[in-house]
């Protein structure tokens, strides 16, 4: 009966090992597919998205009036009209020579790093060409990669300007932080749902400026009727404007309608209050909204509604992504240099399957030698120990796959450490059994040996356990991969040796 128990357990371990190393195959259409989950790898072992940001060398044609002020709406002006009006045409470098300095290159790199961190990209390589200012970034490829790329080359220039005089009232320097907020609206059935807001929090100076602006750029002298209209307009305007952000590049038709709406509203407001002053908010020289304030803002915070209230999860996620992108760009600061994406491609790792195979063969050879030594040293117990050792490795490989741990180069080293630790532990148990064999009865020998091995081994690795738990919580993929793989490995050593190894050796001892 005891023999059957041992054989059954060992066969179960062998079966698990076969599943882990060979897989379970079933026919899917005309091919065989392994049903066992595959490993997931980090950038080093899989490949990465590589983005090259090149310093923009282009220039923009700028039309200026006789006073040297830039004319904004110049698209429809012909050369004759420009001459007639006394305007002048100038070619202005997008990146003037004086800003192309090493300090600005370094600042740009730092801002890009901040953006990557804010977008939860923790596994990345960044390199700066200090001569040309070009920046190359490599980071993990996943569902968010394109979103991340779109945030890298954006300058992030934030401005609140006087709509009339174009005087710059606030800039990035006034922003403390920005975040995404939610709010529910249930005024009418049509508007019911969740609203997504971009919340911009200003620093001390910024808050003061915002209060001054909201005092100055306020709607004045309105009747109660027009007040209601004004409030509606203001809300609508906000919605219209945020819609503008969303559809800027895609929905021209809607954009046109929005502009029409805004124009009509402006006309209405002009009829009511001729003295009204408005501000324009710009991000990267793109108008986000033009508005005035109903009341002074003393909180130092500005909430911009992104899109319309919605109950649709996908729509809301879209708004959140949009708001998050803006928050990331505003929060990380203004890149002093204008960059273009020169390269955006997926680069496979140079660590080929052949390389991994060679490492695998070397590891197998070392393990084989170590297990042979175990068998020679501890005879039958050693053979059982060797089989169970392979079983632990098999279960460990399944555990890594099903706990979704990403394997990095650091993680591969963690596997090595776990195999060494298990070997030491197994050796301790078997050595303990040999030592105490003659003194006590067989059952107690195994119990005592396992107990002593656990006590000695785990007390010595407490600092390692502390380190790996700390690594697990670090926001750094290679390190957390190492931590997670070590954590699961040590947990497995603790459970497996207690449940399987201890039990089998105990049954074997009882058998004699």
């Amino acid at each position: 009966m005891k023999k059957v128990k041992i054989l059954t357990t060992i066969l179960a371990v062998v079966l698990v090992s076969m599943i882990a190393f060979l897989g379970i195959y079933s026919q899917v259409q005309n091919r065989m597919e392994n049903k066992v989950k595959d490993y997931s790898y980090t950038m080093n072992l899989k490949g990465a998205r590589q983005v090259k940001l090149k310093v923009n060398e282009e220039s923009t044609t700028v039309i200026k009036d006789e006073n040297g002020a830039e004319i904004e709406e110049t698209e429809e002006l012909t050369d004759e009209q420009i001459a007639e009006k006394g305007y002048s045409k100038e070619e202005v470098q997008n990146n003037p020579q004086e800003i192309l300095t090493l300090d600005n290159y370094k600042k740009s790199k730092e801002i890009i790093e901040k953006r990557l961190k804010k977008l939860n990209v923790d596994d990345y390589n960044i390199r700066l060409d200090e001569q040309t200012g070009d920046i190359i970034i490599e980071f993990t490829e996943n569902d968010n990669t394109d979103k991340v790329v779109s945030n890298l080359s954006t300058t992030g220039k934030f401005e609140i300007i006087d709509s009339e005089t174009k005087e710059v009232l606030m800039t990035n320097d006034d922003i403390k932080s920005s975040s995404v907020m939610y709010g529910s609206s249930s005024t009418t059935a049509a508007n019911a749902g969740t609203n997504v807001y971009l919340n911009i929090e200003f620093n001390k100076d910024g808050a003061k400026k915002l209060e001054d602006i909201s005092n100055k750029y306020v709607e004045t002298e309105e009747t109660s009727d027009s007040n209601t209209t004004s409030e509606e307009t203001s809300t609508e305007e906000e919605t219209t404007d945020t819609e503008d952000i969303e559809t800027e590049s895609t929905d021209t038709e809607e954009d046109a309608t929005d502009t029409e709406n805004t124009e009509t509203e402006s006309t209405d407001t002009e009829e009511d209050t001729t003295t009204e002053k408005e501000i324009t908010m710009k991000v990267d020289d793109q108008e986000i909204m033009t508005t005035s304030f109903d009341e002074p803002l003393r909180t130092g915070q500005l909430q911009l509604s992104i899109g319309q209230a919605s109950t649709d999860k996908e729509t809301l996620n879209g708004y959140v992504d949009q708001a998050l992108s803006m928050a990331t760009v505003l929060d990380s600061g203004n890149i002093p240099i204008k960059y273009d994406i020169a390269e955006n491609e997926y680069i496979s790792t140079d660590i080929t399957e052949d390389n991994i195979q060679i490492i695998g063969y070397v590891a197998i050879a070392i393990i084989a030698v170590a297990l042979i030594i175990l068998c020679i040293r501890y005879k039958t117990n050693g053979i059982i120990g060797a089989i169970l050792y392979i079983g632990l490795f098999a279960i460990y490989s399944l555990l890594i796959r099903y706990t979704n741990v990403e394997i990095s180069l650091e993680g591969l080293f963690a596997i090595g450490v776990i195999l060494i630790l298990e070997y030491i532990f197994m050796n301790k148990i078997l050595n303990g059994i040999n030592k105490e064999k003659e003194e006590n009865n067989k059952d107690i020998v195994v119990k005592e040996a396992v107990k002593t091995a656990y006590k000695e081994f785990f007390i010595k690795i407490i600092p390692i356990i502390i380190a790996i738990i700390a690594f697990c919580f670090m926001n750094l993929t290679p390190l957390s991969s190492f931590g997670m793989m070590m954590f699961w490995g040590i947990a497995l050593i603790a459970i497996y040796n207690f449940v399987i190894v201890g039990t089998i050796l105990k049954i074997k001892a009882e058998k004699k």
């Binding site: 060409d129 963690a414 010595k460």
Partner: protein, 220 residues
């Protein structure tokens, strides 16, 4: 006991020599970085079909002689090859294109393919993200050590632990510098292994000392 002390002295002296030698090497010639972290030149060639890295390696061995070359597949279809080396001249580029055209029947033109420069990656940029993590983990470990081995004098335990960990990492970097092993993707895993093994060694030593202390206390 004296023999043990002498042995210890020799080990300490040896470690000191290695670290000093390492510092001298770093000060005079710096670390050796692997190609992926060095300033280099890159050529990307669109082959338009799947290819084997080993075939491209054969070509680069003929064209870019006596230089390290990094070959990577580009894009999801893996039909473009990126060839990186310390330096790629126009002549080498032309030869590469000719040989690729011959091998894969492509019609790549030298005029359309540029040699692009890749900036180096600074060593501190590789290590920097890990520093805070190591400091946090070590601080928690030191706290544990101070409590667990208070009988061995907490301050001494903390100082010893910090010193041994620092010396172990310094030793690793000195060996890397002296042997001209390239700093690169394997550096951090090596640092981690040294860190873990050193911790294991330190705890082992302190546990033994604690055991001796307990026995002594029991005797008294």
């Amino acid at each position: 006991m004296e023999k043990k002390n002498n042995k210890m002295k020799i080990i300490v002296l040896l470690i000191a020599i290695i670290i000093i030698a390492g510092i001298i090497v770093v000060a005079t010639s710096g670390f050796n970085f692997e190609l992926a972290y060095q300033p280099s030149k890159k050529v990307e060639l669109y082959i338009g079909k799947e290819f084997e890295i080993s075939d491209i390696k054969q070509i680069t061995n003929e064209v870019i002689q006596n230089q390290e070359v990094l070959i990577q597949k580009v894009e999801v279809f893996e039909d473009t090859v990126s060839i990186i080396s310390n330096d790629i001249t126009e002549e080498q580029k032309n030869n590469l294109i000719t040989k690729i055209n011959e091998k894969y029947q492509t019609e790549l033109s030298a005029e359309e393919i540029e040699i692009t420069s890749i900036a180096h990656m600074r060593g501190r940029d590789i290590i920097k993200p890990y520093i805070v993590s190591f400091i946090i983990a070590t601080a928690i470990i030191l706290l544990y050590m101070a409590i667990r081995y208070y009988k061995l004098n907490s301050i001494k335990v903390i100082v010893k632990t910090i010193l041994i960990l620092a010396v172990a990492e310094a030793l690793l970097f000195s060996i890397i510098a002296i042997t001209r092993l390239p700093i690169g993707r394997l550096t951090i895993p090596m640092m981690l292994i040294v860190y873990i093994l050193t911790l294991l060694g330190i705890t082992n030593k302190f546990e033994k000392n604690l055991e001796i202390k307990k026995i002594e206390e029991e005797k008294n």
